[in-house]
Symmetry: C2
Subunit: 398 residues, 2 copies
């Protein structure tokens, strides 16, 4: 029963906050040794003051003075992108939780892997953009990639039985018995909205998620179903299954977090309330389960769980993601980057809700995918897609 | 990938039929080497003729001539209770599936264990009456007890992750991470029937089960919830958890077959359509999963899954079973025996539906439980309870 020493990249975001809750709940099993944030110096300092983490990193160097002023103790302080990679490879850490929104988590994640740290992945971009590289590096460095997304964590739990065949060095799950991976999706706020009303959807409406409380980018992604599309690609890499074996089922109650259907026709599902503390804790304490103060399901109040087929025609994100996943190479990174730009443009009222899909599809259509790209090629494709998407936005917002 | 050589005790019953379907579906993994039935000689012969099982047993010796006449080949034939024990301990068998209704499966099950055969248990009586003895004998003989009840099979699947800590000899599951075992119950045909209408329930009404097609005894048990009560006690022995950690949730759709809640508040569930072929196959092929022709869940047609708290006051079977399970010793055998008599009396229109509970409770109240009984003491308590229950029935049917 080892206490895990964890570095949190993205400590001031919503995943970071949940990770702190977990650390408070199971102090005997989780110790925070490093905290990194992008630019919220005050919040980072407050979190550091509470946890007394010996290492702290603020990427935005212009705010480092605020951090120093607000700290009530003397941690070692890193800054900038280089600092992020330094705190991700601390000798004193066992695990790095990557919860940075956007592409910023990619380099520190790879640095952590090279330093032999287990990775708890909350940033979708890491596996969507560079799943092939990340999983290969993890294998070669004998490092574990533990999923923190509630969906992938659920799948990971349903595959617990495959642990016996795990090679501790390579951390390979045996998925030969898996027929389908079934990702559940809440369906977002427009699950039942007619297609004809999509044009008039406002950012305010799209930011009201029915079951999860998350950051704005991921909340819009839940509304467009791009979130689920990105997760299809993540699942492909995490569990080494082809994208065509990854399916999506709409489950508005967000109690079943995902399922695995085996070759014998039987299905295992993981259930809990919608609280990121569940998957974060499991990633930290795996393979153990540790008692905590989180409420278990109360079946007398649960009433009903519903399941529906997604409206593929009306929400094109799933088919775009399937295409990106099947093509592979640089296309998933391009899809992800174009989506980031389109979401920002929608929140900025430059494009309408359904135009998020149009922008992504247009940029994907323009891209010639490179197979088995290296990190530079991926980042280049990412930048290219951002420029292309900006061009599309400009055209649409006229 | 070894082909398992299986003996089926109770080959002409509904579980036996499903087992034959499984053997037809995965012939490379399951070979039927022995078939035993109580008295349906014609059906046993037909099944033998199809499977060409080299060993056949008919308990009812008066019908052995019909069997011989109808057989189209020359298997070795056993008969009587002694024959049942002989076929349960064949050198040529790896596993014995015990699917005999009532107490008749107990001695052959113990004989199979002593002969080192893995046990696939479908007969509830074996673990309800003699769970302590059966599990101890299994441990001492290095034999596996695999559950075939859909509920316990589901729990077994949810505990797959505990396999890594399995000692192949003792087959002990590590349940230290388990907080609760949650048995699902369809609720039977009277799930929503008001208590005041119970007196007028007819056998015909009680035999109409909403989701499962089973024998008449078990169908009545599903209506009274004694079936679930017996399963609570089975779970206690199979998974070595106290009865107080075994709970029941009503789930009318019979898609979630049972669940395990872990100490971290997370729950795993096993789902499939209601077909006994699923759990039978898993018991046979475990720890492998083998492709078959069974239909996986179609989530587009599943629609909704509901969960309710049982009506404990109106269906006293659950509380009686909890009491029997917590007291232990001979009390579960007494509850089981009294219930068998009461169900037969109800089907025979001698007692009314709610009087099944009254008879069982009355006999349980009269019993002084013996702790850690041996098999003779259990069978004696069983016989005593039958006599007492008959007395109650006589009184009520006047």
């Amino acid at each position: 029963m080892k206490r895990k020493r964890v570095v949190i990249l993205g400590a001031t975001g919503s995943i970071g906050e949940s990770a702190l809750k977990v650390a408070r709940d199971i102090p005997g099993r989780m110790q925070i040794v490093g905290l990194a944030a992008n630019s919220n110096a005050e919040k980072l300092a407050a979190t550091a003051n509470e946890t007394r983490a010996p290492f702290v990193c603020l990427v935005n160097e212009t705010k480092i003075d605020i951090l120093r002023r607000t700290l009530e103790y003397k941690p070692r302080i890193f800054s900038g992108d280089a600092g992020l990679c330094e705190i991700a490879s601390l000798t004193d850490a066992d695990m790095v939780l990557v919860a940075i929104v956007g592409t910023g988590g990619l380099r520190p994640a790879l640095t952590a892997i090279e330093a032999g740290k287990d990775l708890a992945v909350a940033s979708k971009e890491i596996l969507v953009m560079a799943g092939e590289i990340v999983m290969r590096e993890a294998r070669e460095n004998g490092v574990r990639v533990l999923p923190v997304d509630s969906e992938h964590n659920a799948i990971f739990q349903c595959l617990e039985g495959k642990r016996s065949t795990l090679n501790a060095e390579s951390f390979t799950l045996d998925v030969s018995d898996v027929r389908r991976i079934i990702l559940t999706a809440s369906g977002g706020p427009f699950r039942e909205t007619p297609r004809k009303d999509f044009d008039s959807i406002t950012p305010e409406q799209a930011l009201k998620h029915p079951t999860w409380n998350m950051g704005s980018k991921i909340t819009i992604d839940s509304a467009t179903l791009f979130n689920k599309g990105l997760e299809m690609i993540e699942a492909r890499w995490l569990f080494d299954v082809e994208t065509k074996r990854v399916e999506v089922v709409i489950h508005p109650q967000s109690i079943v977090h995902s399922m695995v259907e085996f070759t014998d026709g039987s299905t295992l599902a993981q259930l809990s309330y919608s609280d990121m503390c569940f998957p974060i804790q499991y990633a930290v304490t795996w393979p153990d389960r540790v008692p905590n103060t989180l409420p278990p399901l109360d079946f007398s109040k649960l009433s009903k769980l519903e399941f529906f087929t997604p409206r593929y025609e009306d929400f094109p994100a799933l088919n775009l993601a399937r295409r990106a996943g099947e093509t592979g190479g640089t296309l998933p990174a391009v899809m992800n980057a174009a989506n980031e730009i389109a979401v920002a443009a929608f929140l900025d009222r430059q494009v309408r809700f359904p135009e998020i899909w149009h922008v992504v599809e247009e940029v994907m259509n323009r891209h010639t995918a490179i197979a088995h790209p290296n990190l530079d090629a991926i980042l280049e494709a990412d930048q290219w897609a951002r420029n292309e998407a900006q061009g599309c936005v400009k055209l649409l917002s006229r």
